[in-house]
């Protein structure tokens, strides 16, 4: 910041404009650093710094300016961080350089003459801010990743850590590429493989594993906010959304060229008609939360979609915070509001569609067990609704003294059917509940139907899908709606109409011409997709290789992967970022080739400890230069999957409608409000092979996230998650040390080890290898023996608890009608629920072993990857 500001000073000090101190020294800073927040109708603290008058008038803290008295002027105090205000915000680090503040002081002491230069009031940009919009540096085929990393380390005078040992390496790369631990056999094979190419062979094997796509798709789904439900009041299911999740997994596994991956997601329906895969891909455009109900305003929910898709497309592919330009010109980046709405106009003819689309050979869509269960619950709800309707009809017939429903006055029967008229108030909430459940299960049945959660350009008659009560025009009468600029984002006061277009900043700064986007119904998105998925677009490759780098090293070369604008962190290795981008394009947009370039580098294979840690810490506190490989806590999915894996319980069944993992029972049974009634109880999948699948295959309900995933910093399903945080909170300890799931898995693991018929020490050794990839040290073995002995004794003395009786669930809701609380019995687990092993099923020694294994699952060595 400081360096940039000095650059600025230099540039305007030498400027040709000579209309006085103000225009040279003060005005550019006001424009660049102040007026973004303190200007216009939404000025912070009501303070407008755009004119002398408005400064004198001041804001909620009083006048900003006392001409002639710099020390008494709030403006100066704020710049100097005195009097409890600090501007620009962000503490001393963000303070303007002293010479700039001195110029402001002098200007105020001179009476604050206002003599604006005759220059545009447009934002001023400086070289360093614009790095991402400029063309890529020419690609040098002779360079390697390490050339750039080593150069920076040398410049800092840092000696990097030596290569990591092979056990650490295989654990690191297995988790990184597949999200699972290496098996003991894989570890030993790699450790004993003395071939020169053992490492590249290992990398290739992992890149070729189907588990790779499951791991890397999760990263993409974080960014695109994939979920199986729509959020808000009803959080209705999106029964075919899972096909998009599987599409992403397949795309990573097959190393689909990234340019094609982009085009399919933005305009697959237009560009590849007849390619079902590409229609499924457009699920991306609808991934955000969205709902329309009787209380919604149609113009508002349509706008909600348009804003979401505009923002999301720019953020995911281009790393731009375009959403900021919805209400006003972007305060920091050259993104005028006009550009925001021009890009939005690209989507103005994009309508929701749920076309029939035959299943692909590679799609796993059959789940007879779940389908049958859903059908049963749907039928049950339907029967109940029908009973209540009969009850209502009977009451009404009594009221009108007729014996046949046909004899009821016109309209009355309809009120019974739709609104439950005639049902006694005490029963009415139950009628509403079953009606709601019918609606919910009807959607769930659609999971198994060959349809796609997609879009089309203009409506597809008969195959539309947009929630209840949304009116669709007929295709024949359809015209693409004209998009207007909405100042302040307010749909009730549209300003100028705009034609569809792309963002002007890349033409302006990046030597990348903007194409013309047709105003026809079709073809808008195709043009946008081509503009993004082009080697000449300087953002596209940079943003993607930076995301890839981040997932390998925990931090991007540019550390804000979805903000390549002025406020995003500048890249630590700008030349490397460009080199990788060039390499990516040269390799035909192959993601796997980028992985190889990174994984085969020395930088990736370094140890996580450095002999000279203190020196490095001082020189490079964030480890941006990568002197060591940064250790990382497993993310939520890796943690759950690895726990299931070592326990022997992980199911590698892949693809298909979301399954339901075992989650905390209190959360499963927690009543969930769904507009006017309650959701059914959460049921874990009855079969182990379903509920113990990899986490990515779990049903993603926006309003009911698995608390284990949530507490270990799982992704927010409503906002794009560009990077997982790793916090340490005590509730994580509860989730791992106290939960039924980890206790069950530890017991399953113990039973699995029992099956090996090993002696006690060999069991301990095997457990260490499975969890950590290494044998125990003698003191660890001794401590383990002692603990096992102690717990064996304890379990011999203490009988196990009784098996739980599975009960039905009582739910309550406060009636909107009567204000009273109504109670329901919700269905409990199905009869064929395949129970986990229970402590009473095993002998005391096995229970003691489970206690030991539970500690391993909780240990730092298990959850951290080096």
């Amino acid at each position: 910041m400081k360096r940039i500001s000095l650059l600025v000073c230099a540039s305007f000090l030498q400027g040709a404009d000579s209309s006085g101190e103000f225009s040279k020294l003060v005005e550019p800073i006001l424009v660049r650093d102040c007026q973004g927040c303190h200007g216009g109708t939404q000025a912070f603290s009501n303070l407008d710094l755009r004119s002398r008058e408005s400064m004198l008038k001041g804001g909620s803290r009083g006048p900003a300016l006392v001409p002639g008295k710099a020390s008494e002027s709030l403006l100066i105090q704020a710049l100097e961080g005195k009097g409890g205000i600090e501007m620009p915000p962000g503490g001393a680090k963000k303070r303007l350089p002293p010479e700039v503040i001195a110029a402001f002081r002098k200007w105020v002491d001179d009476g604050a003459p206002w003599a604006p230069a005759k220059i545009s009031s447009k934002w001023t940009y400086y070289d360093a801010d614009l790095w991402a919009f400029k063309p890529l540096r020419p690609f040098d085929r002779n360079k390697r990743v390490d050339d750039f990393i080593d150069a920076k380390l040398a410049a800092l005078g840092i000696k990097p850590a030596p290569a990591a040992d092979k056990r650490a390496l295989i654990r690191r790369v297995s988790v990184d590429l597949t999200g699972l631990l290496p098996t003991p056999e894989e570890v030993e094979a790699f450790v004993n493989d003395k071939a020169r190419d053992a490492w590249p062979q290992l990398v290739d094997r992992l890149l070729g594993s189907p588990r790779y796509g499951e791991r890397w798709a999760r990263h993409w789904l974080d960014v695109t906010r994939y979920a199986d439900s729509g959020g808000y009041s009803n959080d209705f299911e999106r029964p075919n959304a899972w096909r998009y999740r599987d599409y992403v997994i397949r795309s990573f596994n097959s190393d689909k060229p990234y340019a094609e991956f982009i085009k399919e997601q933005i305009a697959g329906d237009e560009l590849y008609p007849g390619k079902p895969e590409a229609v499924i891909a457009t699920g991306f455009l609808r991934a955000g939360p969205w709902e329309h109900t009787g209380m919604s305003v149609e113009a508002v929910t349509r706008q909600l979609f348009l804003d979401d898709v505009t923002h999301s497309t720019a953020s995911v592919f281009l790393g731009l915070t375009l959403g900021c330009a919805r209400c006003h010109d972007h305060k920091f980046d050259p993104l005028p509001t006009r550009d925001y709405y021009r890009m939005q106009a690209v989507f103005s003819s994009t309508e929701f569609a749920r076309p029939k689309l035959p299943f692909l050979a590679e799609e796993n869509h059959e789940d007879p067990r779940s389908a049958a269960e859903i059908k049963n619950t749907f039928d049950y709800a339907k029967t109940k609704v029908s009973e209540y309707r009969q009850m209502g009809a009977k009451k009404l017939m009594e009221k009108y003294g007729v014996t046949k429903t046909e004899d009821l006055p016109k309209g009355e029967l309809e009120t019974v059917m739709n609104n439950g008229a005639g049902i006694p108030p005490a029963e009415f909430e139950k009628f509403k509940l079953y009606q709601k459940h019918m609606q919910i299960y009807k959607d769930s049945l659609d999971r198994f139907e060959p349809k796609a959660f997609a879009v089309s350009s203009g409506p597809m008659d008969g195959e539309t899908d947009g929630g209840q009560q949304l009116r669709y025009p007929k295709r024949a009468a359809y015209r693409a709606p004209v998009v207007h600029i909405l100042p302040g984002g307010n749909i009730q006061s549209p300003a100028d109409a705009v034609s569809p277009g792309v963002l002007g900043l890349l033409e302006q700064y990046g030597e990348y011409p903007s194409p013309k986007i047709p105003e026809t119904v079709e073809g808008r998105r195709s043009k946008l997709a081509h503009w993004i998925a082009d080697a000449k677009n300087p953002l596209t490759a940079r943003v993607m290789v930076n995301r890839i780098w981040q997932y390998h090293f925990g931090r991007g070369i540019a550390a804000d992967p979805s903000n390549f604008g002025k406020m995003g962190k500048k890249p630590s290795h700008p030349e490397l970022l460009d080199w990788l981008s060039g390499y990516f394009v040269e390799q035909g947009w192959s993601v796997k080739q980028v992985h190889r370039a990174i994984l085969l580098s020395k930088a990736y294979q370094r140890a996580s400890v450095n002999a000279d840690a203190k020196f490095v810490q001082e020189k490079d506190p964030d480890n941006a230069a990568l002197a060591i490989f940064p250790p990382r806590r497993m993310d939520a999915e890796t943690l759950r999957d690895s726990i299931l894996q070592v326990s022997g319980e992980l199911s590698l069944d892949a693809g298909g409608p979301g399954t339901f993992p075992q989650i905390n029972e209190d959360v499963a049974r927690q009543p969930q409000h769904r507009m006017g009634s309650l959701a059914p109880v959460y049921h874990a999948s009855a079969l182990k092979r379903q509920r113990n699948r990899r986490t990515i295959y779990g049903f993603q309900q926006r309003s009911l996230v698995d608390p284990l995933v949530d507490v270990f910093n799982g992704p927010t399903l409503d906002l794009s998650c560009e990077r997982r945080e790793t916090s340490i909170v005590p509730t994580q300890s509860f989730a791992l040390f106290n939960s039924q799931l980890t206790h069950d898995m530890a017991l399953a693991w113990a039973a699995k080890l029992d099956g090996r018929k090993l002696d006690r020490d060999a069991v301990v050794a095997r457990a260490f290898v499975e969890a950590y990839g290494r044998a125990p040290e003698p003191p660890e073995l001794a401590a383990s023996r002692a603990y096992l002995d102690k717990m064996t004794e304890w379990h011999k003395q203490t009988p196990p608890p009784a098996k739980p009786v599975r009960k039905s669930v009582i739910h309550k809701i406060t009636s909107e009608l009567t204000g009273q609380v109504a109670e329901f019995v919700q269905q409990g687990d199905p009869d064929d629920y395949e129970a986990n092993l229970h402590p009473s099923d095993v002998k005391p020694e096995t229970r003691a072993l489970a206690d030991f294994l539970l500690a391993l699952l909780n240990s730092n060595e298990f959850v951290y990857v080096y």
């Binding site: 962000g90 909600l304 009120t415 406020m567 906002l719 989730a735 040390f737 060595e861």
Partner: protein, 453 residues
């Protein structure tokens, strides 16, 4: 770690070293309130039938009119409509002489400590978006809740308890746990829902058969494993923090049951809150209000009590009547209890729903049912204690209660005011997320001086 996390760790570097413990932090501005109890009335209580009566509606009652279809109105709010008078009796209460619903006799004793505000406007007429707006400042969810921002700003006093606690009603509200989300703030600030029965915090109670001695033995063995591992990674700071978090968790496990146990409260105290009386709804809400007081007393920074069922589209006499009867003792009991113990001075109590209700109703199913629909243009909220103005009625709505007309402020100004009362400055309480400095009010706002004592 992103920009946000770095900003956070810069502020809270000491905390990070201590396993993310939320040490207390000084207020940014001088203010009385140190804690907040936010009574969230889910569904949108009717201002017209509670604290802002409209006699004009007695004259207009059942007058029909046509509200044109407007593309900016929900279907439900258009078509043939009729005015609805309030079915309730009103009385004048306190020195301030507020006209309020007579079915709140106990609350009427407290009005001179309360600040009623009739000028607030919400934006959305849809429950989840309006709830997100009230709770997080952002209609579309995903942002930190008010309680998360307050915890971020002030930290917590008792390290063994969460700093932001939510006491939900019988079901989670519309929009679910996003209503108490930490959003982009670190998860330390997430609201922790306390469950009325069983383990108050998820998995705080181990499965059956795990005694405290067995648990302690496991923890000790875990510690041995971790120490051995730490020796091989001496520079990895997170290891110590994670080890400490297990100890913290088990201190929390030891302390929490005592805090949530209300069985040792006196009979008089329970009666004050309506607990144990004939009204079961009052009993349930009373327990949450009493628990809120106990949590505050034990150092929790922000407690949100949720009371649902205010969405009275039809038959407002019974639907609202039952709610009001359940509200009176628990909420007045809370105010009286806080006042008696002196806690009211440092505890800001807020009462608000996501919007108000309409003076008119739609003709649905061909009939009239005397209810009220959603109304974002007018509502009644109140504050008490914690430096809020004592005994005041601020702002006004038009003669039928359709829209706020005096001291009108958008919700974001209300948020800025709540922060201000807690000693936090919305303009400075920011968090750098994805390259943008974010704040509760989203775009900045003004505090409402009339609400501050």
């Amino acid at each position: 770690m992103g920009l946000g996390s770095i900003a956070f760790s810069a502020i809270l570097a000491a905390d990070d070293a201590r396993a993310g413990v939320l040490s207390p932090r000084p207020q940014q501005l001088p203010a009385k309130a140190k804690h907040c109890i936010f009574l969230l009335m889910e569904g949108g209580p009717s201002h017209i039938d509670t604290f802002d009566p409209k006699p004009k509606l007695d004259q207009l009652h059942m007058t029909k009119f046509q509200k044109a279809v407007n593309k900016f109105e929900a279907n439900m709010n258009t078509g043939e409509r009729y005015y609805v008078k309030s079915p309730f009796q009103f009385r004048r209460a306190g020195q301030i002489g507020i006209e309020m619903n007579s079915s709140l006799p106990n609350l009427a004793d407290c009005v001179d400590d309360m600040c009623f505000y009739r000028g607030l406007k919400a934006e959305s007429v849809n429950h989840p978006t309006a709830l997100y707006h009230l709770n997080t400042g952002n209609q579309f969810g995903g942002d930190p809740a008010v309680g998360a921002w307050v915890s971020y700003g002030l930290g917590t006093v008792n390290q063994n308890l969460p700093s932001f606690v939510v006491l939900p009603d019988v079901a989670y509200p519309q929009g679910g746990s996003a209503n108490w989300s930490n959003g982009f703030l670190p998860p330390h600030y997430q609201g922790t829902p306390l469950r009325p029965a069983g383990s108050p915090i998820l998995d705080m109670t181990p499965p059956p058969g795990v005694t405290s001695s067995r648990q302690r033995a496991g923890l000790d063995f875990l510690k041995t494993l971790n120490q051995s591992h730490q020796q091989r990674h001496p520079d990895h700071a997170d290891l110590a923090a994670r080890m400490e978090s297990y100890e913290l968790a088990f201190r929390m496990q030891a302390e929490m049951p005592g805090v949530v146990d209300i069985s040792k409260e006196s009979k008089e105290m329970l009666a004050l809150y309506g607990i144990g009386g004939p009204n079961k709804d009052a009993d349930a809400l009373g327990r949450r209000c009493l628990l809120a007081r106990r949590l505050i007393q034990n150092g929790v920074r922000f407690v949100q009590v949720i009371n649902m069922g205010w969405d009275s589209h039809d038959y407002i006499d019974t639907a609202h009547g039952v709610r009001l009867a359940a509200l009176d003792k628990p909420v007045s009991g809370l105010l009286k209890d806080l006042k008696r113990t002196g806690l009211l001075d440092e505890t800001l109590v807020v009462w608000a729903g996501e919007f108000g209700r309409s003076p008119d109703n739609g003709i649905r199913r061909g009939s009239t049912a005397w209810g009220r629909d959603h109304n974002a243009n007018a509502m009644s909220v109140w504050l008490a204690g914690g430096g809020a103005k004592r005994g005041a009625i601020v702002g006004a709505t038009d003669e039928v209660g359709g829209s706020a007309v005096e001291v009108v402020h958008p919700l974001r100004d209300f948020h800025v005011t709540l922060l201000r009362l807690l000693g936090l400055d919305d303009a400075r309480l920011r968090y750098l997320h994805a390259g943008r400095d974010k704040q509760l009010s989203q775009v900045g706002g003004e505090w409402i001086p009339q609400l501050i004592g």
